[in-house]
């Protein structure tokens, strides 16, 4: 299972990277979203997939899956949510101020 998900994570990272390398503001934002998906899945995978029950002790199962990566991902999701929100607003404010979403035109000059 981990191999499959690791491959998926690789795909997510590749796509995210590709998007980040484009010149369009919005595609870059989408890239960051996919990047965090990849990172979160990776944390989960690194904790080991699918052993034991979900970590809710009320079920009285024999073994539980590792709860720590889940908690870490939760924190990470929340943080990337905040980051994405801020980045989105920054994106459109940038667009409005410069009237372009093309990073080629947002280079600025060397001697500014």
């Amino acid at each position: 299972m981990e191999i499959l998900i690791a491959l998926l994570i690789g795909v997510l990272f590749s796509v995210a990277t590709y998007l980040l390398l484009t010149k369009s503001l919005l595609r870059i934002v989408l890239g960051t979203v996919l990047l965090s998906h990849g990172a979160h899945l990776l944390i989960l995978t690194m904790g080991g997939l699918g052993q034991g029950a979900a970590p809710l002790l009320g079920q009285e199962a024999g073994s539980y899956t590792d709860p720590l990566p889940q908690a870490l991902i939760l924190t990470a999701i929340v943080i990337s949510f905040g980051m994405t929100a801020l980045l989105l607003v920054l994106t459109y404010r940038t667009y409005k101020a410069h009237q372009t979403d093309d990073l080629d035109q947002l280079r600025g000059r060397l001697d500014e």
Partner: protein, 495 residues
């Protein structure tokens, strides 16, 4: 158990939160902020004293009463507590400079809250003993920086902030990636525990790759070559006080983390990992100073000097001996002071003349001798002219590098120092020397002197750190010994 350790980040956090309610009352905001800044600084001194006097020279706190490595542990060792002290000092000075230079509209939009939240993140990052918690504090720091760097929403700012945010988000994602790998292998997040477990692994290949990823992550935050390209322009946008704060604190968080992880956890193959660091240190110095030389804008030049100095700051880590690391720590301390002073002075000059282009200025020394000499001293300190603080930093790095046979980096460091000198003299000779131009000065003498009142303490510190280098070196040597002896750290945290 010492709850004292939470104060450096909790106090600013609480005050930041409280200030949300007073966003429209700028006078009250300033009073609260100022008192907090002072309290934090005073407290940091006390805390440093406590740590220094404690038998282990290290205090720690198991947050939530969960013992390490299970809960999050805060560790105030010699290095982290020094960083906290310096951050509090820098914060205090910036705050008072900010009172005089920050526009009222900025104050209305939570400037001081963001300021304190940034300090929260920075101090937290210094104090935490948990790798994931470090990530969290990094993010607190970063998001505060995102907000502060774009605060005001000027066209230039927005454009460069976008790049800044994206670069850092990528680095943060890889922070998570690296933590995940490390967790998979070691099953722990506590840094002491990580150090312990990594040392027990016989397979070092993967660990070294993870180390490289961490180097990438912290290097991006710490502005190492070739990861710094986002920095020059994005730091240019915000007002001087924010640039100063960033220049002094943000890159330091990255460097601190590098030092921490590469002494505590990734210390198994220094011949490989630390050599890479050394190579990057040299490249960073060179490219940073070339950047500085390529500019005529005083703020830009000093921003590039951030990068150039970063090279020096991690040089000691790359050399990886107790003396070298002591040199690095001392250098970081010195740089925080001098960098802030330089940005303040640049800010004053820009405000005074209405331009940042040194070619358009001239002869300021006659009317503003104190400003000029403050700049000169700070600049010479940055270059490493004795007996200012910068000299002792460079000197100890060079002696220790020579001692370890790292001659190439010594050569690079010296050549770069010479170029640093050139770049700083260029500012001095253009701005303060030369013929007076027809610039009308936009600040009154009282205003300039008022602003200088925040610069003078910094200048005093760089002189004092130089003339009084002995106690400082006793401290940093002890800190470096602690770092080079990670088992002590591990034993204290995991008894």
């Amino acid at each position: 158990m010492s709850n004292l350790l939470v104060v450096p980040f909790l106090l600013p956090m609480v005050v930041g939160a409280v200030l949300i309610f007073f966003a429209k009352h700028h006078r009250l905001q300033r009073i609260i902020a100022g008192l907090t800044g002072i309290a934090l600084f005073v407290f940091s001194i006390y805390l440093t004293y406590r740590v220094y006097q404690s038998p282990e020279q290290m205090i720690h706190l198991e947050v939530g009463d969960w013992r390490a490595p299970f809960g999050i542990v805060l560790v105030g060792d010699m290095l982290s507590i020094l960083m906290v002290l310096m951050a509090s000092f820098v914060g205090l000075v910036c705050l008072f400079y900010g009172f005089k230079t920050i526009h009222i509209e900025r104050e209305r939009y939570y400037f001081y809250s963001f300021f304190f939240f940034l300090l929260t993140g920075v101090n937290g990052a210094f104090l935490t003993g948990d790798l994931f918690n470090l990530f969290v504090f990094f993010e607190v720091t970063l998001i505060s920086s995102y907000v502060l760097i774009s605060h005001g929403g000027k066209k230039f700012q927005l454009r460069e902030s976008f790049k800044y945010v994206v670069m850092n988000m990528v680095a943060s994602a890889f922070f998570l990636v690296a933590v995940a790998y490390l967790y998979a292998i070691t099953g722990t997040l506590n840094m002491a525990d990580l150090g312990d477990r990594v040392a027990m692994l016989d397979q070092q290949g993967i660990i070294n790759v993870i180390a490289i990823i961490f180097l990438f992550v912290f290097g991006a935050k710490g502005a190492l070559f070739p990861l710094y390209y986002w920095l020059p322009k994005s730091y240019y946008g915000p007002p001087a006080v924010i640039t100063a704060l960033f220049g002094a604190l943000l890159t330091k968080v990255g460097l601190y983390s590098l030092i921490r992880t590469f002494t505590l956890i990734f210390n198994q193959n220094p011949a490989f990992t630390h050599t890479i660091i050394l190579v990057l240190a040299g490249a960073t110095m060179i490219f940073g100073v070339l950047g500085a030389l390529s500019k005529f804008d005083i703020k830009s030049i000093i921003i590039y000097q951030i990068i150039s100095q970063v090279g020096f700051m991690i040089m000691g880590l790359g050399v990886f001996s107790a003396d070298a690391i002591a040199g690095s720590i001392y250098y970081i301390t010195h740089d925080m002071v001098v960098k802030v002073a330089l940005f303040f002075i640049a800010g004053i000059i820009i405000q005074l003349t209405g331009t940042a282009d040194i070619r358009k200025m001239g002869g300021l020394l006659k009317k503003y001798p104190l400003l000029g000499w403050s700049f000169f001293i700070a600049a010479m300190s940055l270059v490493g002219i004795p007996p200012l603080s910068g000299f002792f930093g460079k000197f100890s790095l060079i002696v220790s590098s020579v001692g370890e046979g790292q001659y190439v980096i010594v050569g690079v460091a010296l050549v770069v120092s010479l170029l640093n000198l050139f770049s700083m003299l260029r500012i001095f000779m253009n701005v303060f020397w030369g013929e007076e131009t027809d610039i009308t000065f936009a600040l009154s003498n009282e205003q300039v002197n008022g602003l200088l009142r925040t610069v003078i303490p910094l200048i005093a510190v760089t002189i004092a750190l130089g003339l009084g280098a002995e106690p400082a070196f006793q401290y940093v040597s002890a800190a470096a010994d602690q770092l080079m002896n990670p088992t002590h750290y591990i034993d204290v945290i995991l008894p």
